[in-house]
Each structure stands twice: as structure tokens, then as C-alpha cells.
């Protein structure tokens, strides 16, 4: 049983984008054509249906479809960091996320990675606002 969270406990940095326990990104799955979208949308981008869209917790297992090591960014973004296109084969979803747990020069195409929630920001009440990244070297 996960502990009950106080109102000031960690929460998603955007409502409806992710589940805390067990950690998962939330997509929208079209019951008409089966396509899954992330972030969730009120229409199906594949078949354009606007009915029958269901919330769907996405697989935590991904692989790096492409990546870059960002060495220069606007003020306020600390460099370097690894940014990747992450494929979730179980859901046929591609999304952009940072890749951690691996030295930039060790990242490889198709490397397995696993979802991890991480603070993106701090709320006014001091609570962590949780976002996501993918960690290398811990895939199932």
C-alpha cells in the first residue's frame, strides 16, 4: 500500500500526465483504432475519433531511438545533459525525455532505459512537482 499523501506531498507537475504509484506516464488509448497518444489528448491523432478515448498507463520500459548531448542552452538550463527520443515498444509510443544514469559518451542508439519520476519544479507550498526521465542500465 502506498502511503497516503498529504496535500503538500509530491504531485505531478501537470495534472493527468503521470501516475505516482506505481510510477507511470499516462496516455490516451483509442478504443476504436488502438492507437495510444502521449501526452493524453481528447481526440485520437491516428483515426480522429473523439469518443472512446481511455486513460492508459504506459509501459516503463523504453529504448533510445535517437539522442543528443546538449552542450549549449539558453540561460537557466544547466548543461551538459542527454536528451533522447524514447520509444516505448509495448505502447508504440515515442516521446522526448532526458536520459540519466549513463555518461554522455556511453549513450547508444537502441539502449534500453526505464522510466523514473523526478522533480521538475517546486510548488508554492514546497512540494515536489514530479516530471520524468529515463534511466539507463536498470531495464528489466
Amino acid at each position: 500500500m502506498p502511503p497516503t499523501e498529504s496535500p503538500s506531498g509530491p504531485r505531478p507537475f501537470r495534472e493527468g500526465l503521470l501516475r505516482l504509484e506505481p510510477p507511470a506516464l499516462l496516455g490516451s488509448r483509442c478504443t476504436a483504432c488502438g492507437a495510444t497518444a502521449f501526452p493524453p489528448r481528447e481526440f485520437c491523432p491516428a483515426c480522429r475519433a473523439t469518443d472512446g478515448l481511455a486513460e492508459s498507463a504506459l509501459s516503463a520500459e523504453g529504448r533510445v531511438h535517437s539522442f543528443t548531448v546538449v552542450r549549449q542552452a539558453p540561460p537557466g538550463i544547466e548543461v551538459p545533459y542527454v536528451l533522447g527520443w524514447i520509444d516505448l515498444p509495448a505502447d508504440d509510443v515515442r516521446l522526448m525525455a532526458r536520459v540519466v544514469g549513463v555518461a554522455p559518451e556511453q549513450v547508444e542508439l537502441d539502449m534500453p532505459v526505464r522510466l523514473e519520476l523526478t522533480p521538475f519544479d517546486t510548488a508554492g507550498d514546497g512540494a515536489d512537482l514530479l516530471g520524468y526521465h529515463f534511466r539507463a542500465g536498470v531495464a528489466a
Binding site: 501537470r14 546538449v70 545533459y81 508504440d92 509510443v93
Partner: protein
């Protein structure tokens, strides 16, 4: 149904580059506008309306320009489609002429960036991509890495885009950079987003470009109607505009379906086919972008753009010259000005007045802009301007 073409009576630019604070957005815009009016031999009083493309110029930048230029009181509209803003202003001006609303319209693309942008451009802070640290260079870097893996292209072939475009801009007096660079310089440049380095990236620039567009009645008003308007005065045949689609699945990262659709719009609106294009002004905000967008348009075979560039097929004198102006990499990229600057270049090329960077026999040209990113889609806005002499 196709709309009537717009005639390009005059064009003008201020050289793109980095200017001090007292060279304001308004001052640059006025400078480009006066050059375009002089090029057409047109008095300011002949202008019916002003269309201004910009991104970072703030509220009513176009009206601020009008008040300095002397077009105060005229209909003025501001157009923001990120890096396609200038071209979007051209499209709206073309539509207004074809609709019969106006006969002589001035389009200005302008941007003052160097005093307000550093480290690169990025999406709106509210866009999900911004939350994970997306910057434009990173997107193109991931495109480049996947392109190399999928097509066996080399880093040097991608870098060849920068070498080629800098070689072209040696002959462009309006370009920010007018010196050639070597392949070794591109490969050894400081890394921005691996595998792309500094010379794979277009610069942060200031600048303005202006285009005076006319209906046939407008040409007569300017005293240009006596000429063979199909020859001496190049025409904008049509301007395509599409936005990115929300993608699903895990397909080809470089499919460039948004470019394909923008091309289809261009061919449909202009009546020109892709095999009739003699030269392209392409939105090479990054080296790899020129390659994949040319492929997406169907002007270069899929997966062969890097090899084509390295082989010289996209150089002036090659099979299909791309960016005789030097492109964004070398002319500079004041984002809202770029689309208008591309129309200036096509105009000079189609007049046969491009000097040492002239594409011989240029009769029909395409200018492509891609502006902005939206999370989950294959782009923000894409414009395709087809021009002919």
C-alpha cells in the same frame, strides 16, 4: 480554384548581422522598406497596406514601423509563425491582392534578436517539450544522428551543407557571413548539441527584408504595367502553408511528412510541378534540416540528401542549387525576416541579377520556411513560396 499571382515590383534588405542597440527593429524595417520602394521606383503614397512578420518584436511592431516609415493610418497587420513569420506575411499579402482588397502592399520581415536572445531559441515555455529541456538544436541533432544510422550518411556529408552555403554567401552582400569555411572547421567547431557543432547552426541575428507586391492594377499604378509582367517582374505564383500533425507510433524520425504536405500545397496552388523547380531557398536553420526537408519535399531522393550535398548536386552549378544566398547558416537568421529575405533572393535570381551567385537559367524557384515546434507534432508552421519569372 487558383488565386492570381502577385507581382514582385521591388525588394530590399538591410544586411543581416549583429547590430548595436540603437539599430532598432523599427530602423532596420524602415531601411529595408525604403530599399524595396526605391527598387520599384514607387512612392510611399502608392502603398495600400503593410504586412509585417516578426516573432520577438513585441506588441504592434508593425504599427511602430509604420509610424517611422510614413505608413501610419494604413491597414497594418502583424504575423507570427515563428521562423515562417515573414513568409506567412507574404502569403497573407498575396491572398489580399488576389481577393482584390488591395493593389499595392508592402511586406516586411524583421527581427531584432541579439539584444534579447542568447544560447539558442526554444519552444514556448508552456509546451511540454520545454519542460524536458528541448532546444531547437537538440531536435535537429537527434534528427542528424538517426539520419546517419538509417542511411549510412557521414558526419562530413552533413557538414558539407555548411561548407556549401558559406561558399555561396561569399557573393551575397546582404549575408552576415561572407567568408568561405572548410570542412575541417565545421567538424572541429565547438559542440552545441552532438553531433552538431557551432557551424552546423544558423546564428542569432538582426535584420530586415522587404517585398513590394502588386496586382496588375498595382503595377499600372507604379508605372510598371507597360513591361511584360511575365518576364521583367517576377511573380509569386502561390504560397503554401501547413502546420505539423500530431504523430502516433514509432516511425521514421525523418519522415518529414509536414514538408511533403507543404510541397503538395505549393504545387497545387502554383500549378508548378516539383520537376520544374530550378533553385530552392531552403530553411537550413541547421545543416541536417536542409537535407531532410529537401527529401521531404520530394526534390531529393529519400536518404540521399547528404550524399547529394557532398557530391555538389545542390551547389550553384549543380543539379538543383539550394541556398544560392548562403541560406540561414550564412546569410543569418533573424527569424521573422528570413521568409521575406528568401523572396528577395528568388527575385534577384529570377531577374538574372544575382551577380556571382546567379543560378544560370533560373526561371522557377521555391522558398521553404519552417517555424517553431509543438510537442508531439512534426513541426509548427511550414510555408512554401513558388515564384517564376
Amino acid at each position: 480554384m487558383s488565386l492570381a499571382p502577385a507581382h514582385v515590383a521591388g525588394v530590399g534588405m538591410v544586411r543581416f548581422g549583429k547590430y548595436p542597440a540603437d539599430v532598432t527593429l523599427e530602423r532596420m524595417a524602415v531601411g529595408a522598406a525604403r530599399e524595396a520602394l526605391a527598387d520599384a521606383g514607387a512612392p510611399l503614397t502608392a502603398v495600400d497596406a503593410l504586412y509585417v512578420g516578426h516573432v520577438f518584436g513585441g506588441p504592434v511592431a508593425g504599427q511602430r514601423v509604420a509610424a517611422q516609415l510614413g505608413l501610419d493610418g494604413a491597414p497594418v497587420s502583424n504575423h507570427e509563425n515563428y521562423c515562417a513569420s515573414g513568409a506567412t506575411a507574404v502569403r497573407e499579402a498575396w491572398v489580399a491582392l488576389a481577393a482584390g482588397l488591395h493593389d499595392v502592399v508592402l511586406v516586411i520581415g524583421v527581427e531584432k534578436m541579439t539584444d534579447r536572445i542568447s544560447g539558442g531559441v526554444r519552444p514556448d515555455p508552456g509546451d511540454l517539450d520545454a519542460s524536458v529541456g528541448f532546444v531547437m538544436a537538440a531536435g535537429h541533432a537527434m534528427s542528424a544522428r538517426r539520419y546517419m544510422a538509417d542511411h549510412g550518411a557521414t558526419r562530413a556529408q552533413i557538414a558539407a551543407v555548411a561548407v556549401k552555403n558559406h561558399a555561396h554567401s561569399v557573393h551575397n552582400p546582404y549575408a552576415q557571413y561572407q567568408k568561405p569555411i572548410t570542412l575541417e572547421q565545421v567538424l572541429a567547431a565547438r559542440q552545441i548539441a552532438e553531433p552538431l557543432g557551432l557551424l552546423d547552426c544558423s546564428p542569432i541575428s538582426d535584420g530586415a527584408a522587404a517585398v513590394l507586391l502588386c496586382s496588375p492594377a498595382g503595377l499600372r499604378r507604379l508605372g510598371l504595367g507597360g513591361r511584360d509582367v511575365g518576364g521583367a517582374v517576377p511573380r509569386v505564383l502561390g504560397v503554401g502553408l501547413v502546420s505539423g500533425s500530431v504523430l502516433t507510433g514509432t516511425g521514421d524520425l525523418n519522415a518529414e511528412d509536414v514538408s511533403r504536405r507543404a510541397g503538395e500545397e505549393a504545387w497545387k496552388l502554383s500549378g508548378v510541378g516539383p520537376d520544374e523547380i530550378d533553385l530552392v531557398e531552403m530553411h537550413d536553420c541547421f545543416t541536417i534540416a536542409e537535407i531532410v526537408r529537401m527529401e521531404g519535399l520530394g526534390l531529393v531522393p529519400h536518404g540521399q540528401g547528404a550524399a547529394w550535398t557532398a557530391a555538389g548536386h545542390t551547389s550553384i552549378g549543380g543539379r538543383l542549387p539550394v541556398n544560392p544566398s548562403g541560406g540561414l547558416l550564412s546569410r543569418g537568421h533573424p527569424v521573422g525576416a528570413t521568409g521575406a529575405a528568401q523572396v528577395c533572393e528568388l527575385t534577384w535570381q529570377l531577374r538574372g541579377a544575382a551577380g556571382a551567385r546567379q543560378v544560370e537559367g533560373a526561371r522557377t524557384g521555391l522558398a521553404y520556411c519552417k517555424g517553431g515546434t509543438v510537442n508531439g507534432t512534426d513541426g509548427g508552421s511550414v510555408t512554401t513560396v513558388v515564384m517564376a519569372r
